[in-house]
Amino acid sequence: MRHIKWVVLVLVALSLVAPLAVAQEDTGEGLTIGFSQIGSESAWRTSFTNAVKAEAEARGINLLFSDAQQEQENQIAAMQAWIAQGDVDAIVLAPVVVSGWDVVLQEAKDAGIPVVIVDRNVDSDPSLFVTRVSSDFVHEGRLAAAWLVQATSGQCNIVELYGTVGSAAAEDRNQGFNEVIALFPGMKIIRSETGNFVRTEGKQVMESFLSAEDPANICAVWAHNDDMAIGAIEAIKEAGLVPAKDILIVSVDAIPDIFDSLDAGETNATVELSPFMGAPAFDAVVSYLNGEELPKWVPVAGKLYTDRAAYDADHQ
């Protein structure tokens, strides 16, 4: 346990890096806020929507919700309708694509309506919006690595199931993970290959890892998302090994399926891709309306879970 000092240091560093939404008296009660959501294409998107709605209700914010059905034109039309009616105090926008927002953001600014970007990014000039609230993928990677360092006391040969190459989620998670394991000479990524965030590909890549390496030499799997981790679990079982014991598994997302695996003792830990962007977004609106200066990025950091009970406790 001579590395424990390091672990503590890392965790302290993490807690400093992790953004802290400022606790405020003013929760935005009585405000009217328009929320333009991309759509309802995935379970994660739906829980994101529900989280924002629940947060608005808890704060007494009158939320106008608009589902854009995956079309940017609908998002622009919705924002312009709110601007025209002039009833909204702010707009929260989850943009479907990065480009094409300059004109409508400028109109909102001209009308004095602050816009907070959530989730995906826009490539517009930062002066056109208040701030952006989004998941901190780097933090997710760091957290996964910190857990693994602690679980293995800093001695582990890791195989990495990479997400889609070039995607921000994959690149940043990889970066955060590597930052932390670089502090421990005993932590090594011995193989890394992309599974494109897909379950079947995760399984195939894990099979190839198990045949290319001596399985006894693989200490842990680091998967960029839960789906690939679930694929890897199958591959490990088919190879006659015990997942989560012979080979440790850590991944990101906290999808419902991964908790079934946690219940069955077949995986070790998952970092949540937090859908709770409503609170920081509303906090940003309130701070802005109170005339406070805001950073242009408010990262949202998910927690790491090793069992269902802890997750349920956080999500009631």
Binding site: L64, Q69, E71
Partner: protein
């Protein structure tokens, strides 16, 4: 003859009632802001819808408009941002490409006797695929010319922004009405939709007109792509996904008979704005899911198609009433 105007009248009444209902709930409907927003936000659907009106009037169908809009947007963004070409040159180029694309579809439909549905479905896949092959990136256009076009705007005293896109939409509407009712081409289109063989006998150049119709439709879809590019300052291969259906919906709600021969360009204009009014209402309400648009528009479509069927079968309808006395006479003999 009166029955020809009837669907248009229904469209108009539905639109006015809908608008008044919205106005009773949200006062911004009484301002030029909402009207200008409708014009500029739905220009990209309304402009190709005017082209597709000609297609449907002639008894055909065009499924390629949404994809052509997307292809145009991506093409413009790539040529301007990555190849450094001047927007006007790019516009001329893409309008030529788009028009040639439509002409090709017309040639396949007329000379190879392939159903318009199949040909334009291929056109839809080709254009969408082409857009994705060009790039899957979402590209911002930051050219001074685009900024200049954005400055072409008339702002009403109450804040409504009558933009270039809104102006272009109205201009295309006026030209469309002129083309439909005051030119030989327009008369030929109506004649073809009534009865193609009959039109041929009347001396309508069916081949040339067919090619012209699809060229016009693709030209306007390309033009809509340019308008969308100019108003958003970006190009993206995922835009206008399924827009061809919204376009056709606008035409049908506008009172144009899917069987051809009957319909008005002005009806299409109103028909395109109906979903826009519903969308604005639902957005301002904020508690109803926007998926209601699909249900309301679907219901409207059913009503309009039912109405058309009723009007179309009017002749048989009266025959039914005349039959019993005929039979009585036969029995008497």
């Amino acid at each position: 003859m009166k029955s020809r105007v009837f669907p248009l009248l229904i469209t108009f009444v539905v639109f006015v009632l809908l608008y008044l209902f919205c106005l009773s709930r949200f006062d911004s409907f009484g301002t030029t802001k909402v009207i200008c927003n409708l014009l500029r936000n739905y220009a990209y659907l309304g402009i190709p819808a005017i082209g597709v009106t000609f297609v449907i009037l002639s008894g055909g169908i065009d499924l390629s408009s949404g994809s052509i809009i997307a292809f145009t947007g991506v093409f413009c963004a790539l040529m301007i941002e990555r190849n450094g070409m001047h927007p006007l040159v790019v516009f001329a180029l893409i309008l030529s490409i788009g028009t040639a694309f439509g002409m090709m579809m017309g040639v396949f439909i007329h000379y190879f006797k392939i159903p318009a549905f199949i040909v334009t479905l291929s056109g839809m896949f080709l254009a969408r695929g082409g857009a994705y092959v060009l790039t899957t990136d979402s590209i911002s256009i930051r050219h001074p010319f685009y900024d200049e076009v954005s400055k072409i705007v008339y702002i009403f005293p109450d804040g409504g922004r009558f933009t270039f896109a809104a102006g272009a939409f109205l201009a295309v509407l006026v030209l469309g009405i002129f083309l439909a009712h005051f030119t030989r081409f327009g008369r030929n289109v109506y004649a073809m939709g009534g009865n193609e063989t009959g039109a041929l006998l009347l001396g309508v150049p069916v081949g040339r007109t067919t090619i012209g119709i699809y060229a016009l439709s693709s030209f306007l879809a390309t033009f809509a792509g340019i308008i969308l590019s100019l108003s958003k300052h970006s190009g993206d291969s995922t835009i206008a996904m399924g827009a061809e259906m919204d376009v056709i919906t606008g035409v049908v709600i506008g009172g144009t008979l899917l069987t051809g021969g009957v319909g008005y360009v002005i009806g299409t204009f109103i028909g395109t704005l109906v979903p826009g009014v519903i969308h604005t209402y639902l957005t301002l309400d904020g508690s109803l899911t926007p998926w209601w648009i699909k249900i309301i528009v679907g219901t409207l479509l059913l009503v309009f198609i039912g109405l058309q069927k009723l009007l179309g079968s009017q002749f048989d309808f009266f025959k039914l009433f005349r039959r019993p006395p005929l039979r009585a006479e036969q029995q008497a003999q």
